[in-house]
Amino acid sequence: GEALLPAPQSISILSTNMKHFLTWSPVIVQGATVRYSVEFQGEYEREHANGSWIPISECSLTAATVCNLTEDIAASVAYKLRVRAELGAARSPWGTTEGFFNRVTTSLTPPLLRVLADGYHLLVELADMGPAFQFRVLYWRKGQESRVQQKVTREVSSVVHLDTMEAGAEYCVKAQTHVEAINRSSSFSPTQCVRAQGDTSVWL
């Protein structure tokens, strides 16, 4: 029965850039494949639905020791998670996360970006980080740090036009992410600078 299987240990949530994963240590039974089932409980379930738990079907009877919670942790409230081991008819007790998890604590990393000079055009391309993200891009002409300009965009994986540069001048760019749902921003990316093409006019 249940006593045969110990509850999974070292249960923790890894949350980066609004992607949330539950992980736990494997339960070892020689010569057998132990499977696991995961359930979650939001504040609503605790306070208004008799403390009910909701199974995550993608993580029911899974052999993996990680479960993607992103789709289910879809509100900025305190969640609890639990996981148990299953082997045939045997089920372990539930292992439950210590404390609560609220997505407002996700760690936000600076965006990945590529800065390009296309002739006199200053362009930037931002890597896609998911629907929750918008980007605040700061750009300035080198040496004129007091005249920083800003562009806020959600456009990803395609080139965004920032400015038309003066011939031969160098321009710098940096960016940070902003997540409206939790009202937080990442730190800035490293600054990248590019130089506009030189002046091609020839004095005759």
């Binding site: 208004h48 909701i54 079907s57 509100a75 409206e180």
Partner: protein
């Protein structure tokens, strides 16, 4: 005063859209509306909007979601997401009310009484499913009156 509450309408709308057809298919009474009978939410005065919104969040959290459990795990998970989002938003609105920035006029009180009467006119499961199926009426009204 004004009540500015940040809530991710995009996420709630996406969660509801994912289950809308399923939920609305469980509502056999197409001729009745909980939220729009006899008058549309759009008739509510702007000064009463905050109060009626708070009333409606309380209505959904306290009366609707708990009676919408289904045999479908995917639907239950989306309902949980929406319910927890409503709970979070209601808390913020409640804080606003405490600062007297969300005054309840006669009209919003009357409108909410009508919604409750519509709700209590049906058996609880039908009423809850219908109310959940009408969530886009509420979301449209909230986005339009932002």
């Amino acid at each position: 005063g004004a009540c500015r509450v940040s809530m991710s309408m995009t996420e709630i709308r996406a969660g509801f859209t994912a289950i809308k057809a399923n939920i609305q298919s469980r509502d056999p009474i197409r001729t009745l509306s909980i939220l729009s009978h006899p008058h549309s939410l759009h008739k509510v005065k702007s000064s009463d909007r905050c109060c009626i919104t708070h009333h409606l969040f309380t209505f959904y959290v306290d009366k609707v979601f708990k009676h919408c459990r289904t045999e479908d795990s995917f639907v239950n998970r989306k309902i949980s997401s929406i319910a927890n989002s409503f709970l979070s938003a209601r808390r913020k609105l409640g804080q606003c009310r405490e600062q007297n920035n969300c005054v309840c006029g006669e009209e919003s009180t009357e409108k909410f009484k009508q919604i409750l009467a519509n709700y209590e006119g049906l058996n609880v499961t039908s009423a809850a499913m219908k109310s959940l199926g009408e969530l886009d009426i509420l979301l449209d009204w909230m986005e339009k009156s932002r």
